[in-house]
Amino acid sequence: MNPQPPPVGGPKPRVSGLNCPNCGGSITLRALGQASSVVCEGCGSILDAKDPKLQIIQTFHRIVSSDPPLIPLGTRGKIRGTDYEVIGFERRTITVDLVEYHWHEYILFNPYKGFRYLTEYQGHWNDISICKELPSMSSSFNISPRVNYLGESYQHFQSADANTDFVLGEFPWQVRVGERASVTDYVHPPRVLSGEKMAGEVTWSIGEYIPGRDVWKAFNLPGSPPAAIGVYENEPSPFRANLKAVWIGFAALAFGLLVMMIGFDVFAMNSSVFQGAYRFTSGYPRAEASFVTNTFELGGRPSNVEVTTSTDLQNNWIYLNYALINQDTGQAWDFGREVSFYSGYDSDGSWTEGSRNAAIVVPSVPPGQYYLRIEPEADTVHPPVTYTVEVRRDVPVSSFYGIGFLALLIPAILITWRSASFEKSRWSESDHPHSPIIPEGS
């Protein structure tokens, strides 16, 4: 027999008005025929919703909750395209190391779709529904137990005994204040698989993390949702999606940098335009030490000039004042460089310090006729120093590639560190706080 199509305008929930047999207060049944128990808002008695006389299941001294439902009972909203009404609310508590942790569960009802649940813990929300099939225990047991559900592997996060300590509205089971259930959570962000064991029976549910602002939008609630505190067990990492893309991007950019380096190395002029060999003897009284070289031509576009000094120093030093001067314009670059080299032998063996050669790169020198003014300085007591000076035009500067590589690497490392910190915060709240960081979705 084909089911009748739903009436135009959507289903209208069956609402029934009854009275509490304990206090006489009015009872509203929003999911009449579907709910198993209902809580009297007046006296807190839990009543059998299946019984026409609303037999009392339990009475409890209801304390006015310091954290009432954030979504009032009777509020309607659209979850995943389906209209639901909030018909029940409960607060549950687990105790770990004598510290109580509370979370809230909202029971949602649609006459055609049945029940659905929203949970909230410190501003973190989950959209929960009952599993359609049983999860299977994973055979691969490495760091912590895993279960498989609908082709996804979920890692054990936490097991605890949950106590129901506050109820309000209607429930699809005969709820009791004080009822205890053994709850085990497995995570595969943004999903969580929860097994609740009560009286030998395990009920599995699947949840998906939902931002508080989406809940507020779905139920058209006033104001803004409470801010989420910390990292929740199945909260999707905001860094995880970027992590792989950033490292792929880094690899592509580093490759681009390598290609650029090879290209500039191949196509750079890197030509020797001047070479000269000199000998410097320092003495006293000293004559004028400075001298000028022959002129040489720097061709091409404005580019750098490398001045290299090579010496025969041995346990000695020399300082060379250089000026690269344009013969025609009088533009000059003035710079100096010490060259020193020391060596010896001690109890650790032979050692050396410094170098016999030094190079300095003059930036962006326009083409033209140039000469060098050289003024050497050295100790008067040291022997003469022989040195050569070479000038090269348009040389590749490798330090730029090093700086570029570091500039590319730092953001990639930063986001990796942020991602790892996020996972560490997540797992610090689990039964496996010292486990290695398990990548999300693995």
């Binding site: 940098l257 003035d334 710079f335 790169v361 003014r373 500067v397 990639a412």
Partner: protein, 61 residues
Amino acid sequence: MFRQIYMLYGLLILATVGYAQYNGWSLDTMNQLKNVPKSVRDNPGSYRSVYSGYHHYTGGK
């Protein structure tokens, strides 16, 4: 969003490195002068370098 920003940042880095190489930038420090007289060529001692009068560091010994 971050990956787009990172790629844009990375391309900017590559462009800067390429521009620096092409235009012959340098990380070495030096003093730039204008209008050095042509007489320096004949009388090098008349030029006074800002780096002259160097004091060699002896490591405190």
